[in-house]
Symmetry: C2
Subunit: 249 residues, 2 copies
């Protein structure tokens, strides 16, 4: 892990701007936050389950997953994180990490000391609420994952995840015409969906065979968005996409 000091929380500000409108004071406070940037290679753990971190991380570039290990050695990915996400905001209030964060690609991460984040919250109630809202939306996504894994068959489940991913990436400008980078192996997709790698593979063949998606070398594309949404039983409401969100058609 290589870190360097930087000033100016550009991407963080853009993220918050999607949650609330910032005034000049708030923007200045954010801009003066002492920040560090760290770079992680694919497969590296950014934070480990059980850690008691003294800082929060925000994803600047790259993709990560949050996962938990179960007794028999299995692993469940409970969320994917994309640029703009602050995956462990919870560590501000819950001492011990309940998940491990792992880089899926080369990833640039912003580190914010808890101390600084708390000072920022004390300075601006609105920023506090913006952070809180961020964690609430993460919770809404987790609930939808419970629904997805609990109720939907493999085909619907995977289609739903693809819709969710494209919709979230679109908001941060990382999906173009239902096409985005989704650098996940079939094994990891299985760990996220509660399915075996073999069954993921067959499910993907079905989705491809129906002409709904292509997914090669980490690039995912939905060919018929409406149909994919329908197959995936996907309604983006739970994502609470920012007010300037343009509804995908």
């Amino acid at each position: 892990m290589v870190t360097s000091f930087v000033h100016g929380a550009g991407p963080l500000i853009r993220k918050l701007e999607r949650l609330i409108r910032l005034d000049d004071d708030e923007r200045r406070a954010l801009d003066q936050l002492p920040l560090r940037v760290a770079t992680f290679d694919p497969g590296q753990e950014i934070v480990r389950q059980g850690d008691k971190p003294q800082q929060c991380v925000a994803v600047l570039e790259g993709f990560c997953s949050a996962s938990k290990i179960v007794g028999d050695g299995g692993r469940q990915i409970v969320s994917f994180h994309i640029p703009g996400d602050i995956p462990d905001l919870q560590s501000l209030h819950v001492a011990e990490m309940d998940v491990s964060l792992t880089a899926l690609t080369q990833t640039r991460i912003l580190l914010i000391q808890h101390e600084d984040a708390r000072r920022l919250c004390a300075q601006s109630l609105r920023i506090t609420h913006a952070f809180w809202r961020e964690t609430l939306i993460a919770g809404a996504i987790a609930k939808e994952w419970v629904v997805n894994i609990g109720q939907r068959d493999a085909l619907t489940r995977v289609a739903h995840l693809f819709c969710e991913t494209i919709a979230r990436l679109d908001v941060v400008g990382l999906a173009d015409d239902y096409r985005c980078h989704f650098p996940v192996t079939q094994e990891k997709l299985g760990e996220a969906m509660g399915l075996s790698t073999v069954h993921i593979n067959r499910t993907l063949q079905e989705l491809r065979g129906r002409g709904l998606i292509s997914w090669e070398r980490g690039v995912l594309e939905a060919h018929r968005w409406e149909d994919l949404q329908q197959v995936g039983d996907f309604d983006p409401g739970y994502l609470s996409l920012a007010p300037d969100w343009v509804v995908l058609r």
Copy 2:
């Protein structure tokens, strides 16, 4: 739904005291909150998915579930709520409810107008953080449900839920010697666990047959807590039961 006006947020204060240390000013502010109490019968919906409520609810007595409907008509329960919970705090920040709240038993509910909750947050940053922490723990529980449903077989899954339920009820003094009220039908348990009623029934027989639990007329008892924990692959860490009193100034 019958409502009446009350003053004094006793149970709410007790709940917050578990999240954060309150000072006298804060206790006074809470005590002066204008509150209403509503009573719901079993099966009644308290808030409906898609609603845009102007108030939050806190459970005083009784049990509720939060559930989402999927396209094919199925239902997934994403959480159970017990006295002391504030199941829809999210509505303070996310306009539209992503779940329906349903009373499982006769339930007494405290209603807090958003307006009042917001004023309270503005008065005390520490109360804001306490509410935020409450939602973070709810998120941690949702993540564990993803793990439970995604990775564990029926027996482990149900055992895990029983452990979680007993552990949570114990904190609010509603479990005595691993014995508690758990007024849920097998059908609803199936909706929570992503399993059919038939398979829930057989799983319960297995748990009973192993002498791990009894569950009759809504009263759940763990006979060998340690063994049940082991069968359920249960580690209570994610519940953040021990208040680690994150220092907020």
